[in-house]
């Protein structure tokens, strides 16, 4: 119970830290957003006095000039935690409205990518370990390493170039067709999958190898364990040894990798969504960067961090269900 509170506390602390960080970056860094805004207004209105410019900047950035920096911080924090991320200067809509609408699409791509990456990685890694030293092992180890060294977005650009623009097999952007109405229908689901296919494929192909090699290494380690030898001599059936002994013990360490993957893949989604013009969180983050729309940019950053913290928290809490050694909680080391 203490452990649970500890974990929850850390998660909340992380989000508070992130929001504080974004406050610091927006308000305090010289040459930051406020200076940029000031410069922009000055360019558009050459005759304006600097007091008038400051007033305009404060109005646009929703800053109350009568407040001290601490008061500003408190009011920023409280509005963020009430779900108010400000108004997008580019779109003119509330930031949270834009991002809440985009979030499910990002999660959709992420979930599919993670699912396939780990399914392929675990399956392939197990077979490679089982056939250690064989031609199969050698070939797929090399293939895994090769794909692992291609940046996911480079593969994405290649797919876009070959499969979308040159061969016209896949859409060059968007997340669903206008012709298909949004709703819980098979047609819509297929259409969404069709649009998500290339981003997902870019992720899966460049990342499955890493998981496969990790699974291979873990399995080989387990194959050398005493308990495995004991299980064989006790005459346990092969299926039980494969799943309860090798499989389970080799997959467990991957769980930590999974947690880390959630973070890196979310980060990667930002770039892939921009490349595939797939309107998720990352796409809006880039729109915001191009338009110097700081509320939208920081909002996207906060939403992404919150989603990752929540995902890691979930993974952390459920880990105890599959690894009995983690039930104590405190002693487990995250690698």
């Amino acid at each position: 119970m203490h452990w649970l509170i500890n974990r929850l506390g850390r998660a909340i602390l992380t989000i508070v830290g992130t929001v504080s960080l974004s406050f610091v970056m927006i308000r305090l860094i010289p040459g930051g957003p406020l200076d940029y805004l000031r410069g922009q207004i000055r360019n558009q209105n050459p005759g304006m006095s600097s007091d008038a410019i400051d007033a305009l900047v404060e109005a646009q950035a929703a800053i109350n000039p009568d407040q001290s920096i601490v008061e500003q911080y408190v009011s920023y924090m409280s509005s963020v935690f009430q779900g108010d991320l400000g108004t997008s200067t580019w779109y003119g809509d509330p930031v949270n409205q834009i991002l809440i609408e985009a979030l499910p699409w990002t999660l959709f791509v992420m979930a599919l990518s993670l699912l396939f990456t780990f399914a392929i990685g675990i399956g392939l890694g197990a077979v490679m370990a089982y056939k250690e030293g064989s031609r199969f092992d050698y070939t797929f180890s090399s293939v895994s390493i090769f794909f692992n060294s291609i940046p996911y977005y480079v593969l994405g650009v290649l797919f876009l170039f070959v499969l979308s623009y040159q061969m016209d097999l896949f859409p060059t952007g968007g997340r669903s067709s206008d012709a298909v109405p949004v709703g819980f229908s098979v047609a819509f689901l297929l259409d969404a999958l069709y649009h998500a296919a290339l981003p997902v494929l870019s992720f899966v192909l460049t990342r499955f190898g890493f998981q496969a090699l990790a699974m291979r290494g873990n399995s080989i380690n387990v194959l050398g364990e005493n308990y495995l030898r004991a299980a064989k001599i006790r005459g346990l059936p092969g299926r039980r040894i494969a799943f309860q002994y090798v499989g389970r013990n080799a997959v467990l360490p991957l769980y930590t990798t999974l947690m880390i993957s959630i973070g890196t893949m979310f980060g990667g989604a930002v770039i892939l969504e921009e490349i595939f013009a797939y309107p998720g969180i990352g796409y809006y983050m880039f729109q915001a960067i191009d338009a110097r729309d700081y509320p939208l940019m920081m909002g996207a950053f906060i939403i992404i961090t919150t989603a990752i913290v929540a995902a890691i928290l979930f993974a952390d809490l459920t880990y105890g269900l599959i690894d009995p050694r983690a039930s104590g909680g405190e002693t487990r080391e995250t690698y």
Binding site: E225, N226, Y227, R229, A230, A231, K232, I233, R234, G235, L236, P237, R240, Q244, Y245, R248, N249, L252, I322, D323, P324, R325
Partner: protein, 361 residues
Amino acid sequence: MSPGKDVVLDVEGARVQFEMDRGVARVLDDVDLSVSREEIFGIVGESGSGKSMLAASMLDAVEDPGVLSGSITYYPSPDEPVDILELSAEELRQLRWEEIAMVFQGALDSFNPTLRIGQHFQETLSAHNVDRQSGMERARELLSDLYLEPEQVLASHPHELSGGMRQRALIALALLLEPEVLVMDEPTGALDLLMQRSILSLIKKLQRKYNLTIVFISHDLPLVANLADRIGVMYAFDLVEVGTAEDVVEGARHPYTRALLKAVPNLETPYAEMQPIAGRAPDPVSVPKGCSYAERCPLADDQCLDVHPPYDDLTDEHRVACYYPEEAPAAIPLPFEDQSVERPDDPPEAAGAAPGKEGSR
């Protein structure tokens, strides 16, 4: 070999080889050995001498790429020989654990960390088609015999038990299917001295209660001397001396056995009298053609270097692979020579006391 006795396990010409980059390594070199019913047979040797291979051979459980040849015969009753190396995969699967069970070296990680102790017992019962209810009753009885709280232990995960508890649970698991023979490979290696003693006395108790035959393998000669009825000393992949515990400890005739007795670290042995054995054990790829110990032996002559010495049967029970069993005591004197040694029948409190004890005075 003692033909008159009721032999339960007969090993003849057991050899384990495997291919290495440098050539063929022979890690078990034509070992002959008979284990009698309901005795405790101790095998002693330093690490690398092949004793774990010998243990694994008794269940035909030598791991790849090792290849076992020779013959291993198991006698469920005196006139019913079973050639273990000729069994089909399924017959072998049944023989293991039902007839001959094993406790491994590195016993502390012999349990699957993700399963409860009880699940290990249950899966073993169902793998051998034993009624779960009566099987688990036996499990509980065994655990109580080993001074464990059955319900608590069965519900625990391995990491929740101490080393000694895990070790005892493992012994209970080995005896679950009522085997005739229990092979224990360094079962106390990872335990502290106090725990070693209590496990040894438990092993003795179980042996009497369940009429077990036990093959007990260790690098620790004093430990084995206190437990075993008979002892075999291994050096460089073969047994060099076999005899009753008394023969081997008090009347050791092989120069290696004597050197081993002298090298035994004991708190009460004066430092000056404790001597490591100079030189190295032979490489398994190129075992010398003569006596494998000749290079380190003070008695070695040309014959020793050229021709592998056959066993010299000193008595019915005591045999030594050496040309000079009569000269050995004078050449390698032991500090405790002519002293009496505690016997295995002594009360368990004395278990673990080393034979060198009296010698130090």
